[in-house]
Structure formats: C-alpha cells, structure tokens
Amino acid sequence: MIDIDLRTSELNFIGKVLCVFTHQVNNQLAILKESVGLIGDLIEMGKVSRKDLEGIMSLIESIRNQISKTAYFCNSLNSFGHGMVETSASFAVNKIIDDLVCLLDKLAAQKRITFKKEFKEGIPLIHGNPLKLQFLVFYFIEKNLTRLEKNSSIIIKTSRSEDTINIDVIPKGIFVQVEDGAGGDTAYQFLANNLGASISVDTPEGGITIRLPLPSSAA
C-alpha cells in the first residue's frame, strides 16, 4: 500500500516539476519575444538614434541572459530526465540537488520563499537512483513551502561526515498552522530505507537531515 502511495506521489512530483518547468520556459520565451519585438519595432519605425542603439544593445544583453537562463533550466530538466531513465547510476549529490532546486525555484518565488544552497565541495559520487533521492528531498522542501509564510527561506545544505553524506533541509522564518497528512512521513521513511538512508529531525522548527551511507570506496 505504501508502495502504491509513493508511486502516485512520485508521479505527482514529476508532474509538478514539468508544470513549473514549462511555465518558466514559457515566461523566458515571452521575454525573448518582447525584446526581439522591440528591436524590430525600433528598426521598422526608423527610430534608431544613437540613444536607441544603446537601448538595443541592452536588449541584446537581456536576450543573451535569457538564453543562458533558459539553457541552464533546460539542462536541469535534462539531468532530471536522465535520473528517470537511468534508475541505477553513479551521481553527484550536489548536482542532483542543484537541479531540483533550480526546477523548483519559481514555485518558491511565487510564495516569496527563497532557497539558500550551502553545498560542501568534494562529496564523493554515490550509486543509486537519483530520482528517488530527489523525490525524497522534494517531499521535505514541499512540506516546508506549505508550512512557511512569505519572506521565509529554506536552507538546503550538503555535507560529508566520517561515514555518511548528509542533506539538510532547514526552514527559516514564520510558520503557518497546517494539518500534517496522516502517515506522510511513514511513507517517506519507507522510501529512505529503500535508498539505504536515514532521516532525523534536527531542529525545533522541523529541519531534517537525510543521511546516506558513504560509498565503501570513499569511506
């Protein structure tokens, strides 16, 4: 039963990521279209004075930035997609968490919540299912997005201890009262067990740590 619930939640998670992604790319395309449209208007209307040339240069700069942002965003979805195809692979924890945070950034921004990434360098690659780990981290991020008031933040931190790789999800700010779904954490505890991970609640505000075993080659 837990397995079926998790499967449904996993599809729900993938659906949300796809909605945020398409929404964001569409926004970026809208910016590109207006910027290019404005350049076209200025040329067509014969309004290209020296001052307008400066404006055009700044529009071109804005187009370049949007293309870079869109490419970064697409790369994150691409890696995310690979995680769904290669269900057992060696992967860098920082990279998959970074992809996830990038894909969820707009969702948080709409609630005026910011993500703060504190990633430790030099964490060894681990072997397993990257999508399942992203799904587990997503569960705690989404839970905090629901619990936090606007102008709050969520710190997502990675670190390494002697025998584990740790991922912390720490909410900071003002909390709203929400009913916890019955048995939600139990299902995710089950998922953590499948990943060979453990979860502990570390702060009074509900900050959690996911501990993954360090690969034997790196221990």
């Binding site: 909605c19 569409n26 809208a30 590109l32 279209k33 207006e34 910027s35």
Partner: protein, 129 residues
Amino acid sequence: MDTNVLIVDDEVEFASALAERLLLRKYRAKTAYNAEDAISLIKSVPPDVVLLDLRMPGLGGFEVLRTIKEFDPSIEVILLTGHPKEEGIDEGIPTGLFDYIMKPVEIAELTSKIDSAYEKRNRNKDTRG
C-alpha cells in the same frame, strides 16, 4: 491614442519591453512588478485597461482582479497567461475579466484586445453617465 494601459507582471524585462512596444504604438503604458504596487498605482492613476499576470509572488492575481473591480468596475482587465489550464480558465473566462491572452504575446492580437477593452470601458462609462 489615449488609452492608459497598466502592465502588471513580476517578469521585469517582459513588462518593460512590452510597455516600450505599446508606447511606440502610442498607448500610454505603465508597469508594476508586483500586486501591491499595482493596486496603489491603480488607485492613484486609474488606467483604462490592466494587463495582469495571475502568477505573481505575494497577492494572487484573482485578489488583484477583485480589488480592481471593487475600486472601479469599468476598468477592464486582460489576463496574461502562459497556460490557461493552470489558471483554470481553459473552459471559460471568469467573471470580471475582459479576456485573456497567451504568453508569448502576439502584439497585434494584444493591441486589438486592448482597443476592444477600451471601447467597452467607454461604453460602460457613458451608460453610467
């Protein structure tokens, strides 16, 4: 062209480029990058037509729409949307909205909708006397 248009969108580059394009077409276009600024601008200098993005940080777009209509029902609101299904408007236009337009925007389609909205506002103003 005397139409006062307010563009409300948190994507600053989108709103400012669109405002420039409308200015070049002789509309009086202004921008607001969040719901709170939009409401205070609407109350100080009421526009004829508001182009409103529903998905902004903070106050929801439908709350902004309600506030605009309470303040002055004759101000026409056109929704800017990337995905009508997400906004729940794929099966019809909600009460109070003049129309919606998909992002990325076709400028000719947008100006045509703005002109129709402006005509409707003037008709409503005349009727109210």
